[in-house]
Amino acid sequence: MTDADIIVVGAGPAGSCAAIAAARSGKRVVLIERGPFPGSKNMYGGVIYPRILDELIPHWFETAPIQRWVVRRSTMVLSDTGALNIDYRSNAWGQAPYNGATAYRPDFDNWLAQQAVAAGADLICSTTVTGLLRDDQGRVCGVSTDRPDGDLTASVVIACDGVNSFLAKQAGLYPTADADNYTLGVKETLSLSKHIIDERFGVRDNQGVDIEILGGTSGVNGGGFIYTNLDTIAVGVVLKLSKLSAQKKRPEDIIAELKRHPAIAPLVEGGQVVEYSAHLIPEAGLEMMPKMVADGLLIAGDAAALCLAAGIWLEGVNFAMASGMYAGQSASAAINANNVSANSLKSYTDRLNKTFVLQDHKKLRKIPHLVLSDRIQHKYPAFVTGVVERMFRVDNPTPKPGVRRIVSQERKKAGIKLSELVRDALTGLKGFG
């Protein structure tokens, strides 16, 4: 007999949800995490869209360690001196069933993993999975770890080991790695009193704000974000790896510059850096996704590049939780059917295809590369803010120019061809629409 029915590697959002789903269906589940506790090493920007938990943990919002509920979502376009801000507020998002929430990953991931333990999974921390075990037919049948006497056998292994998944690569499921498919996320957590955050961001109690930023990344293709926690704020940038190394810029300098921008400085002023962290993000979506199923093996979450990083959307946790849950369910169903071959486990990818997980990715297929393209990155912020600046500038005694004229003049000034503008608009419309 195997040591476990299902081994889940990595107690991030994907792994814990896989473990919950599998344990709920009565399987013997072992959840292995390399950190001293779940979430101890995990980082992200700061907003989770946890509605997918409705299915797995009813009333999750009563116990989940949430900092603030996002009721304001802003998208900011920064030029050197200006900023265009599109701001939406919905107080309904601050009530059940809620929309987005800010949370600290060491709190959130730990909470989620404890739900898996409550469901009956064995959680083993401070243990790194070092490889896959295979039977004589080459099927995955367990994992090896860095502990003494550290091999563990199971019917199915679910790899939820995060971006750049070592296990998926070892299983040969990844197409060749390409640095262009990754961005580097870098984040500073700044401490500010709750009172100051409430004042500056115009919120009360546990209401929070999510600001996504285009431009302001010192000429390196990418974007930025600011999220409010209870008494800290997260300020970060997401940078295209290839451009970062080409331009020889240091990520911490880019954050520093973003913090000095006239539109950002008043928001972050006086915040003491309490944490600095960096992490890779699989950016290219569909274009880089590996095969997610092999005999005895499933891949979920960032390990399967399921993170949706498309400009004004940066969603990974919800994709991880959903894919983890489906992986757990499919693994369990396959074991029930006494067949854990890739063919039998394929119900996992079927489910991904039918739900938002792959639907959203397909819809937004072109968006990541569009948003990170040189044109959008280097020309549009100046163009857009230029247009708005001229629309609202009162140049008396000169009469107001027509909007069409402004747009055309600013487009030329920014060096964007009309054909390009039309093409980008169409791609955008198709992608977002």
């Binding site: 001293p36 060491p106 064995d122 083993i124 502990r147 003494p148 550290g150 563990l152």
Partner: protein, 268 residues
């Protein structure tokens, strides 16, 4: 026979004493880890059972499970408020170990830090103590006497011979605790932990305030005139700086350090 090991559940991230440390950052000190390792090593060569004990709230069972996964045989938790007086903690620990062959402790805990629990245990058990050990030579035969070295003040050391039941406390760097095997880690989470309700009240701990050094008494100033004596006390003639605090980038800081050393005459 039983070899008892006392380990304390403390917040590892910072030395903050509380009833309930943040469980995610809690663990046991290097000193307690070393105590456990020595006990396990002795038990390997004998038929002794290693009993791990902790006095604390339910979260403290995590350190017992950790100890079990590394090879301890039995675990007991005394349910008690962690802010209880050290003598009460010790008395309760002793109540849960019957006639131990030896008791291993860390030399002091990270938070309370009195180093008095081991000594109270020895007093309660009415056996000898060998505290603050920095080196040990375990015998081949687990029941033979063995040599140990303990710290005295001023860099002196005391060589001891340990030949029977005793309470031993060790410094953290004496030995590294072994890693638990995967199978033990898994089974430890299901092993039974005996829980005993503490007896004896807790002592009220007063509110903590930040540490401030107390003013030091100095010898009476020497000098014939009042002015000389004042100068002597206030040190006005010395070149001493005046407690300057500066925020600096690393490179500026390094330069500043070397400049100051030059100014004070430590560097040419």
């Amino acid at each position: 026979m039983t070899i008892a090991v006392c380990i304390k559940w403390v917040n590892y991230s910072g030395p903050v004493e509380s009833d309930t440390p943040d469980e995610r950052f809690a663990g046991f000190s290097f000193a307690d880890q070393a105590a456990l390792e020595w006990a396990l090593r002795i038990a390997e060569n004998s038929s002794d059972e290693v009993l791990v004990l902790t006095a604390g709230p339910v979260g403290a069972e995590a350190v017992l499970r950790d100890a079990l996964s590394r090879g301890a045989h039995r675990a007991v938790r005394i349910d008690i408020d962690l802010t209880s007086d050290s003598s009460v903690i010790a008395r309760n620990l002793v109540g849960a170990m019957s006639q131990p062959r030896m008791v291993w402790c860390g030399d002091y805990s990270n938070d309370r830090g009195s180093g008095s629990v081991p000594s109270f245990i020895a007093a309660d058990l009415n056996i000898d103590q060998a505290l603050g050990l920095v080196a040990l030579e375990l015998p081949e035969n687990a029941n033979a006497s063995f040599a140990a070295v303990r710290r005295l003040d001023g860099g002196r050391r005391e060589q001891l011979l340990i030949s029977g039941s005793a309470v031993l406390s060790v410094e953290g760097s004496t030995v590294r605790l072994r890693r638990a095997s995967l199978k033990n880690t898994m089974s430890a989470s299901k092993q039974e932990i005996q829980v005993i309700t503490a007896t004896g009240g807790r002592m009220d701990t007063p509110a903590l305030r930040p540490y401030r050094p107390r003013p030091r008494v100095t010898l009476a100033p020497i000098g014939l005139t009042a002015l000389e004596r004042v100068k002597h006390i206030t040190d006005t003639s010395s070149s001493k700086g005046h407690g300057e605090t500066v925020h600096a980038e690393p490179s500026a800081a390094a330069t500043l350090i070397l400049e100051s050393l030059r100014k004070w005459g430590y560097l040419p």
